[in-house]
Symmetry: C2
Subunit: 407 residues, 2 copies
């Protein structure tokens, strides 16, 4: 019953030529950022932009002729849905995907575009799950579980085989952990091929389900996380014992680390990671001493992030880096003052991005006004220089958060 290296090797033969053998490349700027020697496995380059295709295809390919004819069902609002839909269509297997009614339209559309029937049902994942189970029995469909299935786990484990072929010197692989399918498959494959390798799990701090189970803690689970792909409240029955045996440590990643990691992938590595996809890098940023000086492999496991959220992350990071600053100024409400401010900012080489002028605030004197100005800056020293100059002109500058349109 136990899943072995032989199962992962068989999965690799099954998916060969039908799932991309993704690149594994050195990431020198992420190495400089973390102090480790980092290599990245680009699973976001799969057709549906996540690793989920490996497990889904391995499962689908294992079905009997009768099961294929009847079709499959899955419950997912995310990457698993697209992976099952895409590979079922290629194999000519009818696929039904149940999603909560709250699922963003883009994800529903992407799954339908792959050829699946989408059933929108229930406000929550749990409601949708119940509906999927009902349909499974009513229609005689085969359920494709996102993680707690031996074929799925073995399929995901093919990543580690490719990573160690391309980079045999790895000391450590950091793997995002939700239901545990990805980490279980890869832990068993990697440790079988290279027993000395360490496997570290990166779990969202808001959803510490493996952390709680393994440590006997009861930290709360829930909340809005950037890493919705690993926001799982349960551990898998099949994945838990593998994780317990083979994973050295679980690092909890908070929202800020996730956001920094998504941004680092984008600006330093020029690639798009969703929150869950960046969780491994987030773990390195959250706990750098754990990884420093070592050969670390990261699985960039998914790239499906809402463009609005990504745009917001990029702008927030510019503010954090003080490459953009917003200040509120108190000014006398007479002609020419805005021109004076703009001129002064120009002299300071601070490019103005946005101006917002208020006169109705209660804390403004009747003959005064407030102006919010957002400017592009070079760095912290430049920000300080600008604030000092505005202070000297008598505008009482106060730093505020920029009015970013798409938060």
């Amino acid at each position: 019953m136990a899943i072995t290296l032989a199962d992962v090797e068989a999965a690799r033969r099954t998916i060969a030529g039908r799932v991309l053998r993704t690149p594994m490349l050195p990431a020198p700027k992420l190495s400089a950022l973390t102090g480790a020697s980092v290599q990245v496995k680009y699973e976001n380059l799969q057709v549906t932009n996540s690793f989920k295709e490996r497990g889904a295809l391995n499962k689908l390919a294992s079905l009997s002729a009768v099961e294929r004819e009847r079709g499959v069902i899955a419950m997912s609002a995310g990457n698993h849905a697209q992976a099952v839909a895409y590979h079922a269509a290629r194999l000519g297997i009818p696929a039904t995907i149940v999603m909560p009614v709250t699922t963003p339209f883009v994800k529903v559309h992407a799954t339908k575009a792959c050829g699946a029937e989408v059933v929108l049902h229930g406000e929550t994942i749990a409601d949708a799950q119940l509906r999927a189970e009902t349909l499974e029995h009513e229609r005689g469909l085969t359920f494709v579980h996102p993680y707690d299935d031996a074929k799925v786990i073995a399929g995901q484990g093919t990543i580690a085989l490719e990573m160690l072929e391309d980079a045999p010197d790895l000391d450590l692989i950091v793997i995002p952990i939700g239901g545990g399918g990805l980490i279980a498959g890869n832990a068993l494959a990697a440790r079988a091929v290279k027993p000395s390798i360490e496997i570290v799990g990166a779990e969202a701090a808001l959803y510490p389900s493996f952390w709680n189970t393994l440590r006997g803690e009861a930290r709360p689970l829930g909340g809005a996380t950037l890493a919705e792909g690993i926001a799982v409240k349960n551990v898998g029955a099949l994945t838990l014992p593998i994780v317990r045996d083979l994973v050295a440590e679980i690092v909890l990643v908070d929202e800020q680390s996730l956001e920094r990691a998504v941004n680092a992938y984008l600006t330093l590595q020029k690639t798009m990671a969703e929150g869950a996809g960046a969780a491994g890098l987030a773990a390195m940023l959250a706990k750098p001493e754990r990884f420093r000086g070592r050969n670390v492999g990261l699985v960039l496991c998914g790239g499906n992030i809402d463009p609005r959220i990504l745009a917001s992350i990029m702008v927030r990071e510019l503010e954090r880096d003080e490459r953009m600053v917003s200040v509120r100024l108190t000014i006398p409400d007479r002609p020419g003052v805005l021109g004076q401010i703009a001129t002064r900012l120009g002299e300071l080489s601070a490019n103005i991005l946005e101006v917002d002028h208020h006169r109705l605030f209660l804390d403004v004197p009747a003959k005064g006004a407030k102006v919010d100005v957002t400017v592009e800056t070079r760095d912290r020293a430049h920000v300080q220089e600008i604030l000092a100059a505005l202070e000297a002109e008598g505008f009482q500058p106060q730093r505020i958060e920029a009015a970013v349109a798409m938060e």
Copy 2:
């Protein structure tokens, strides 16, 4: 004097192991978008995130011991600067880079971080160029030209050798064209290896220097382009004859095609392209019938784009796709109306992103107000449904462009 395949093969041996052999991967979603079979060469994954390292390293490695000791000089505000600085530092060659004083701080910083001395001089590229020539002679430095140099051209050509090894079935390669170094090197290498292959150049419509020269036209050159990396007003003396002989066609790409291409790389292919880096894809979008049904190779030649600009492109594309809409409503200025609007939008599943309330516009009745509301939408039909509902409530909705913070 002519550059040959042997020069490119020699360059390949020279740069082997010191410049990344980048992935060449099928891009099924870009194929679906364009109707061609598209494969992408990811030059944006180089350490300094552009192909420029190939030519720069090939040139640097060709210098004599005396030349290396004296050092090199280059003039560039962009990718060439970082490429020269990075590889000069690795070879222990002192590098001086002249940049116009208007160069964004981030690029100056990135070049300094590679270990080069940066000289900021002149308002324009031409001024900086003069300064670089003066320093070349005063200090006895070797000038590393960004494109008009046989070693540089041969170095860039190594890309085509790798592409055809990985994808021998290519019918056509689309290559961005600025000064012509990238396209010249790759045209001569690709046509030597596979004489039947077509090479198409993608030139910015605002900077049609090769187009003008080859066709005897005199279209104007200039203006702010997203593809600043190929905004070159001259053609190279070495590159021109190669382009004339070996390039089948030049496609001019306008700003909207460039913007769509950058966005398509990001949202469909999960990778970051700068404007010039996306020019090949932009050519496919601008002239789809030219490429339909063929095996097309794209060189994603650079990924250095300002995060602010990228964020703005993403948001604008959402508006174009009608996944986001802004409307200005005229409302009676009394309590409760905003609540009424918000409730109605909620019923229509239109998620509110931003609200801006004006009462001081002259075209508003004294007892009225205007509200700008930006909402997240599903598609065109959803937008129409929302507009009709707001009309029915008497708010006279007018569509406007969203107030995007970072344009």
